[in-house]
């Protein structure tokens, strides 16, 4: 659609001709996507369109059958999930994935260690208590997501909305270059949804960060997105600016329904 633009500048994330089948089902076919640096790119589409599958291909959870995925000019395919994360990609999952047996604070420390020490480093004789600097960063982040008062809580026993916020905080504290968010506000109270939108906006202003976000909540999508790709049955239907998407008849029919 925007041929000239694409040629002119390479996006930080380049997905080219990606295909993925599950048995007889074509979950992704010929997906092309380019996400420009420091933008928020939303991916929307009906259930089962392949949105999560696409994210899975980006973080190494799935390997596409064909096609290529470049992050910052380097291919992510064939790399292990932790290597991809070390390249600067963090992901929030559709169902919260946290360290349930650990406290909130410990949940926050782990991504910080990963950032500081790389994929592995045996600090067997240093105590966690003595990591003052990391702790204060973790606390600051928790403050941002309004969870500081819960820092000693056992994370499995939090309500689901809280788990989501924690997971997002864990990704954000890593200071990723590309943040992948799979329905970050699902199940969040309205107030928190608004807080989350503000937080993400604020972070985007403060530092260089690119985000790809999957959401069914159009309020979130339209508040944040710079560009939107609509995925349907494994192929991108349209890619455009939010305003244009809102009015797009095909999108309204296939996806938005009365809501828009």
């Amino acid at each position: 659609m925007n041929l000239r633009n694409e040629e002119a500048q390479m996006g930080i994330l380049e997905v080219k001709d990606v295909n993925k089948r599950f048995g007889g089902l074509k979950a992704l076919s010929e997906v092309n996507l380019s996400v420009a640096e420091n933008t928020v790119h939303a991916i929307i589409g009906p259930n089962g369109a392949g949105k999560s599958t696409l994210l899975n291909c980006l973080v190494g959870k799935l390997i596409p059958d064909t096609g290529s995925v470049l992050f910052d000019g380097q291919s992510v395919l064939g790399r292990k999930p932790f290597e991809i994360n070390q390249m600067g990609i963090s992901r929030v999952f559709q169902t919260p994935e946290i360290f349930g047996d650990l406290t909130v604070m410990e949940n926050m420390m782990i991504p910080l260690f990963a950032r500081r020490d790389g994929a592995y480093r045996l600090h067997a004789f240093r105590s966690v208590e003595s990591e003052g600097e990391l702790r204060s960063r973790a606390e600051a982040m928790l403050e941002d997501v309004k969870m500081l008062d819960k820092r000693h809580m056992h994370s499995a026993s939090m309500s689901r909305g809280d788990k989501r916020r924690l997971e997002m905080a864990m990704c954000l504290v890593q200071d990723p270059r590309l943040l992948l968010l799979d329905e970050p506000t699902a199940g969040m109270a309205r107030a928190d949804t608004n807080n989350t939108i503000d937080l993400l906006k604020e972070i985007k202003e403060k530092r260089d960060i690119t985000m790809a976000i999957i959401e069914h909540d159009m309020h979130v999508v339209f508040s944040l997105a710079d560009r939107i790709t609509v995925l349907a049955q494994g192929t991108p239907l349209v890619e455009d600016s939010p305003e244009n998407i809102k009015g797009h008849p095909k999108v309204r029919e296939a996806y938005l329904g009365e809501a828009a």
Binding site: F22, L25, G45, P46, N47, G48, A49, G50, K51, S52, T53, Q94, T95, S157, M158, S159, R160, G161, D162, E183, A186, G187, M188, A189, R190, A191, D192, T193, N194, H216, D217, M218, A254, Y255, L256, G257, E258, A259, A260
Partner: protein, 251 residues
């Protein structure tokens, strides 16, 4: 027959219909932590009640308590469903008594295909919609019937969870955030379905973060805050009450 509690002091109770589901002075704990702190409410037959509140307010805990799951532990209180004392039952007995819960994390059973997940719901009586009819409602599931349930997309799983509840002939449907992760068109679909089954006499408690949508559908609304009921009234009242909306629902 047990003596039924007297709710006449509760102003918000519809005088006309007798309560179908009553929750009386229910206190629930997760281990030592005291979550639901003595709540009372009634639901009438054929009603849709929206249960609203912030994250961590105790909505899920309330539904799980009613469904008689092992955790939380209901340490005090009574729950009556159509003259049957649910509080003396275990969860499968409550389910055979006519309760259906769609849990918030969907709880699709790993290792089972879509169809097996549905068949499983039809092992214990009473049996509700036929599997074919459910596929008509959610064609997506029909297409994926041989796929393992947990590999479905998030939204598809949600559909399966709802279909699974309908596969049983239940009297009360407890929905914990059923719209979560669903595309807007599908939400419309489900809303229609809920209206449809309401017409057939189903009683529903709906927990939902999208308060506006929930209130459009619901007859009544109950608002929870830190384990206590702060409001119990009609949906229209909530929509009309600026303060309430701002304070508890942020809308």
């Amino acid at each position: 027959m047990n003596v039924r509690p007297d709710f006449s002091k509760n102003a918000n109770m519809a005088e006309t219909a007798p309560a179908f589901l009553s929750v009386w002075d229910m206190h629930s704990y997760y281990g030592e932590s005291y979550i639901v702190q003595g709540i009372n409410f009634n639901v009438h037959e054929g009603e849709i009640v929206a249960l609203l509140g912030r994250n961590g307010a105790g909505k899920t805990t309330t539904l799980r308590s009613i469904a008689r799951l092992n955790s939380p532990q209901v340490q005090r209180g009574e729950i009556w469903l159509d003259h049957k004392p649910l509080h003396t039952m275990s969860s499968y007995e409550a389910a055979t008594a006519g309760l259906g819960l769609v849990p918030e994390d969907r709880r699709i059973i790993p290792g089972l295909t879509v169809e097996e997940n549905l068949q499983l719901a039809q092992i214990a009586p009473p049996i509700g919609w036929s599997i074919e009819r459910l596929y008509d409602l959610f064609p997506r599931l029909g297409e994926r019937r041989k796929q393992e349930g947990v590999t479905l997309s998030g939204g598809e799983q949600q559909m399966l969870a709802i279909a699974r509840a309908l596969a049983r002939d239940i009297k009360v449907l407890l929905l914990d955030e059923p719209y979560e992760g669903l595309a807007p068109v599908i939400v419309d679909e489900i809303e229609k379905t809920l209206r449809h089954i309401k017409e057939q006499g189903m009683t529903t408690i709906l927990v939902e973060q999208n308060a506006v949508r929930a209130l459009q559908l619901a007859d009544r609304a109950i608002i929870l805050d830190t384990g206590s009921i702060v409001f119990d009234g009609t949906a229209a009242e909530v929509l009309g009450n600026e303060e309430l909306r701002a304070e508890y629902l942020a809308i």
